[in-house]
Structures are given as C-alpha cells and as structure tokens.
Symmetry: C3
Subunit: 277 residues, 3 copies
C-alpha cells in the first residue's frame, strides 16, 4: 500500500537516504518502509558512536510520518552485529562507562518500544548485543546457513546479561530455554535458533531481503493505531522496568566493569580477538 | 462415573433442559455433564442478550451440585461464535456501551473462573470474542477442517483486544506467539491453531462431540476439590487483575468506542458484512 | 578441567565419600562434580529424615569450594523418588506436620537456589515431590523407557501442589501445559515428558550416567561467577516468593493436612499402596 505522503510512480524521488557514518538508512516513502543497514566493519560492533547514531536514526524515522516500518540488516558480510564494543568497556573512565551504558539502554528503549514495525533480517552471526537488537524487533528472519549463529553468550566472557536483556529473551523463548541458554552462554546455529524460537523463520541468504519486504508488507496491511496500542500493551511491563531502574542499572554496570578481574578478562578476550585476525 | 444425585438407568428423567432463547443447555445429571449449545443464527454474535443468558446459564450450572462439567459448542453450522456483536457498539448511548462491556466482563469472569471443568468443542470458525470463549475453557478441541479458523483478530478491525483478552491468550500460547498474533490480528486455520497451541487437539468434525465427552470423562475422573483449587491457583492472578480494574476498563471501552473514527470504521465493517450475505 | 584444590592423577585420594543413611554422596575433587544417589528403598520417599539429610548434604557441597556441580540420581531400581512420604502426613501431631513441611521447603530452597550446576539423571519414575526435585535442577536427563513416568500428580490423591511447586513447573513448561497437567494430576511417560519439556532429553538407561557427566562437563566449562549470577537472576523471583510467605505456607499445610477428609483419603491411599506390594 502507498505511504501517506507520497503519490505513486515516483520511486526515485521517494527514496530518501540519510548520510551517516555507521548505519545507512534509506526510506522508501512510497511503501513507508525504511531500510537500515549496519556498515561498520569489520563486525558492526555497538560502539558509543554506533549506538548514538542508531538511536538518532530510530528517532528520526519514528518522527517521520512517512515511515511505518524498518528493516534492520547488515552491509558487512557474514556478520549482523558482534554486540557491544569491548573497547568501550576497557581502560576507560567511570564517566565513559556511564555514558556508554546509557547509550546501550537508549538504543534498546527506542527499538523495543518503537511504534514502527521492526523486522530483523539477520544475514550473519549475531552474538550478545547483536542478538539483543534482533530480539527487540517484531519479527526475525535469519539466513539459513548453519555457519551463522545467534545468542546471548555473555556468560562465555564471564559477564552477565543485564535483567532487561533477560526479560527481552524470556518474552521471545520462554523461561526454560532462556535460563539454559543464558547460563551456558550459548551461540545457536541458525537451524537450532529456529527450533528454539529465537528467530521466526529461516530463508536462503539470497532470498532474505525479498522475504523481509514481504513480511513487512503483511504487517503494514494492518491499521497502525490498533497495532501500535497492541504492541505497547505487550511490551510496556518490560520497558517500564528498565525506565524505573535506569540509574541503578548504570551504577551496577560501572561497578561491575570497573572490577580488576573483569578488566583483566576483557583484555584477554580482546587480545584473543586480535590474534584471530 | 454416575453423578452424585441421580441413579443409573434413567437417561430421560436425568436429562434436564433449560429453556433459553440463544443458548440451549442440557444437563445430564447421571454424568454430571452439561451440554451448552450456542443457537443464535446467523453467527452466534455475543450480543448483550446472548452474554446475559450465557452468564446466567453458567451461574445456574455452577450452583447446581449435580453439574461438574460443561461442554460448549455451537448449534449453528460452520461457526462457533463470531465474537462481540458490533451492533451493540454502534450508534448507541454511553450507558448502553457501559452495560454491554460489563456483560462481556461478567461472562469472562464466570467462564475463566468457573470451578466446573469446561471443554470447548469448536465446531466452526471462532474469531475475536468467540476465540476468547474457547481460550477461557480448560481444554479446546477443534474440528480439523482448514476452512475453520480461530484467533483474536481485533487489530484487523482497527480495535485493540483489552488486557484481559491478552492475558488469557498469553497464558495459553506464551508471549511471543501472542504478541505476533495480536498485532497481525491473525485468524489461524485449524491446523495452524493446533501448531501454535491455541487449541489442544483436532478431530474430524463428526467425531467432535464423542471426543469432547471422552475428554470430559477424563477430567471428571479427578476429585473436584483438588482440581478446583489447582485451577484457581493457576488463574487467580489474571482474574484478579480485571476485578481490580473493572470500572476503569469499562470507562476505557466507552471512551474508545465513542470516538467518531472508531464509529466510522465499525459502520463500514457492518456494511461490508451486510453486503457479503 | 581439574578442580581447584586437587592435583591430577590421584583419582582414589580425590574421591571423598560422605557416610549417610539415605543418600550416598561422592565428591570427585578432580572434576569438581559430586554424585548424589538416593538409596532409601523401597521408593526413595522424601521422609523428614531423608529431606534433612538432603538439605545438609547440599549445604556441605555448597560450602565446599572443591565442588562445582552435583548429579542427582537414584540407587534404587526403577524409581527416582516417589515424592513426599505420606506416613509423615498421617496421624501425626501439628508440630510434626510443621517440622515436616519446613523440611520440604528447606530442601527446595537449597536445590532450586543452588549456586552449583545441578543435573538430574532421572533413572526411574518420579511422581509428585520426586518430580519437584528433578524440576529444580538446571537440566533433566531421563531414561527413555516409557515404563518410567514423571509429573506433579498431587491432584490424583485429592491434594493440591503448593504454589511454589506450581511456579517451578510453570518456569519449566509454561502456563498452558502446567495448568492442564496439574489439574489432571498427570504422570507423563518419558517420551511424553520430553515432548512437553518436563525433561530436556532422553537416553537409553545404560547411557544415563555417561551422558549426565558429559552435560555436567559442558556446564562446568563456563566461568562459575557469571553462570551463578545468571541463575540467580532467573530464579530469584520464584525463590523470594516462598521466602516471603514461608510461615503462611506452613500454616496452610498444617490446616489442610489436619482435615479429617484429607487424613481419610491419605489413609486409604496408604492401604492401597500396602496391598500392592
């Protein structure tokens, strides 16, 4: 169906592109659908800069009445997003840790609470914070390759997913699977992720964007107002819980990440990553 | 097993029929099982009159010690119930809207909170409020025809299922499936409804009543008291939530349904239904 | 990986056995894994003595830094545990009932809240309280024989599973399955238990201990601290609920079990069990 502000037949004129550094956003005003592509090689880490740009992009689209839905995907081969950027949590000041964590919260509050339809087209691996981005969308389609995996694997690094990562995960897969997967810090290959309900469907990688557009059209066939109120009704309890405990959650993160034992294991992890390259 | 008040071998004498307009109720005192058949053509709409009769029938059976279980089904071919009667929500007074909504709440409070065993024999399509009736029973058996569908499709009409519809749905299918199905206003064909857990089993339509009786016998083999306390323990939180917010929920409904935009879309929907006939 | 306190190559010296009456505990300090075997024939009933020994054993292991995980299984053929010992609930004093119930609570608080990895190797039937023990572990492996069944079948005896049995069950299988299974007091044969999610996997009985050890090794590959905090985050709400209502829950049990009708049905059940032998 046509977007509310644009006549048909103007595909070129109706496509507006935001110029950003880390995320490419293209809004097709004729369909009302924005395409958001993570393009921060090598692994689309959620750095402070990336998160800030992500939140601002979401806010712009949210306030643009021509935009009704967003498809989130990656422009980097084989990776959707590797999650929080560990360099932001290593050897920085307490103020920096606080600013970084607030940006993580802000991104999630905007994405999980978005009134737009959000579809994740997961075209690569998606550990930790990358998995959170996918879990926060309305619908998840993943490229069917068993080489790609997804999961909240924080425990593998000796860190703990915060309660609102957990709440988001439980809402998607239920308590039993979330409990096991979080404790084991599991990264689930795509076929297993489908079986557990972490993603909603798998398609061959070359069909991913086509399928995402079709799913989006199905969701946009509904009147926005009723769909938005329904989404709010489903997600409000979990969103409100972070809003009510936001400062406390930031303090917890700062205390945790400032520990020498955690700094040490993060440094070791970063060095391991460097050697891998 | 024989009912507590009636000797065996008196099938005619033990069968008591209530004379109602919209719902036929027959209690077999020898088995303790009541059959409740919706007979309000063309589509068993939940009108104020229907809902009032439904609640009174449930109350009578609840207070009849000879009755331990109720099988709910339809006497109208191809439809279980089409849900709330839209004519009750269109062009009526604020007082009427309030009275109607209180009757919807009353029906659900009685059915979801019933101490009797309740089995839904879903022998036709069951959208919106019709789906709520089925979801509120202890067990759902559906005729296996893919022509019959079931779901809380309120969003399709531009309206929002109230929180206690949602709570009932989440208790049956979990958060992820409820969130998607409610946002899309999905009507699920019987085979899909089984897969999602919306109904507990499918049988060929001609075997539906036989299977419902067998399931009922299995549930009635348990001692009533322990089963009833267990049911209360499972459902109390969700029932209490409506009881605590009942007046507020009525006010919300009145405000919502009185909006000109909602009146307009309901009128359009009714005209579409008329043309279909 | 080796345990923190013992060098390699000393398998005999590193195996410490606690001498108990009802439960055999062997800690392999080289792996950090304790084996806990119920050996209270004929059916591993959870008597006051058994429960007290269970809680003390768990406490000892919890406080032993050499122990990181516990595998719980049975030394009695064909039965994991038959659940609460009915003789403790029959013809005893009010004081005794209170002491017994506090011991049931204590066992669950220690097991469900354990910071160790807990794996149930369910090598026989496991009704009622026996099922609770399995449900309270982190992971459940069951011998695949359909002769073995598991479930919270309290309703079959005319009694009601307390709210924290229910909460534990809902966390494992979700609301819909818990509601039906609890109301019917179902005992599920192993293959059905797997399908419903009551157990996590089935293996041939002769491979059970081998598989339990492999699963334990997988869980112990994670750093303890992050895993423990994650487990606490998942289970705290349900644990806190009993802690907040513990005395009230004991009073409820005493009132319930002191009723003449309940005493009568428990006596009848015990006589039935005696005749079976």
């Amino acid at each position: 169906p046509p977007g509310p502000l644009q006549p048909h037949g103007l595909p070129l004129a109706s496509c507006r592109s935001f110029s950003n550094n880390k995320i490419q956003v293209e809004l097709d005003e004729s369909s009302g659908v924005a395409m958001m592509k993570f393009k921060s090689p090598p692994v689309n880490s959620l750095s402070l800069e990336f998160l800030t740009e992500f939140s601002i992009s979401l806010e712009k689209l949210e306030n643009n009445r021509a935009c009704r839905g967003v498809i989130i995907t990656s422009a980097v081969p084989k990776i959707f997003s590797s999650g929080l950027d560990i360099t932001e949590m290593c050897g920085k000041s307490v103020e920096h840790y606080g600013e970084f964590w607030r940006a993580v919260q802000e991104m999630w509050l905007r994405l999980y609470g978005s009134s737009m339809v959000t579809v994740a087209a997961v075209n690569g691996s998606s550990p930790a914070g990358g998995c959170l981005v996918a879990l926060s969308c309305d619908y998840r389609i993943m490229a069917e390759s068993p080489k790609f995996s997804i999961g909240l694997n924080e425990a593998q690094l000796g860190i703990v997913a915060p309660f609102w990562f957990k709440d988001t995960f439980v809402n998607v897969v239920g308590h039993r699977i979330a409990e096991r997967s979080l404790q084991l810090g599991s990264l689930h290959p795509a076929p297993e992720a489908l079986k557990l309900g972490i993603v909603d469907e798998l398609v061959p990688e070359e069909k991913l964007m086509e399928r995402a557009a079709a799913v989006m059209a199905q969701w946009l066939a509904l009147p926005d107002h009723a769909r938005q109120l329904t989404k709010t009704m489903m997600r409000k309890a979990v969103l409100d819980r972070l809003v009510a405990h936001r400062e406390e959650d930031i303090k917890n993160f700062i205390t945790f990440v400032s520990k020498e034992s955690i700094q040490k294991s993060l440094r070791m992890y970063m060095e391991m990553l460097k050697k891998r390259k």
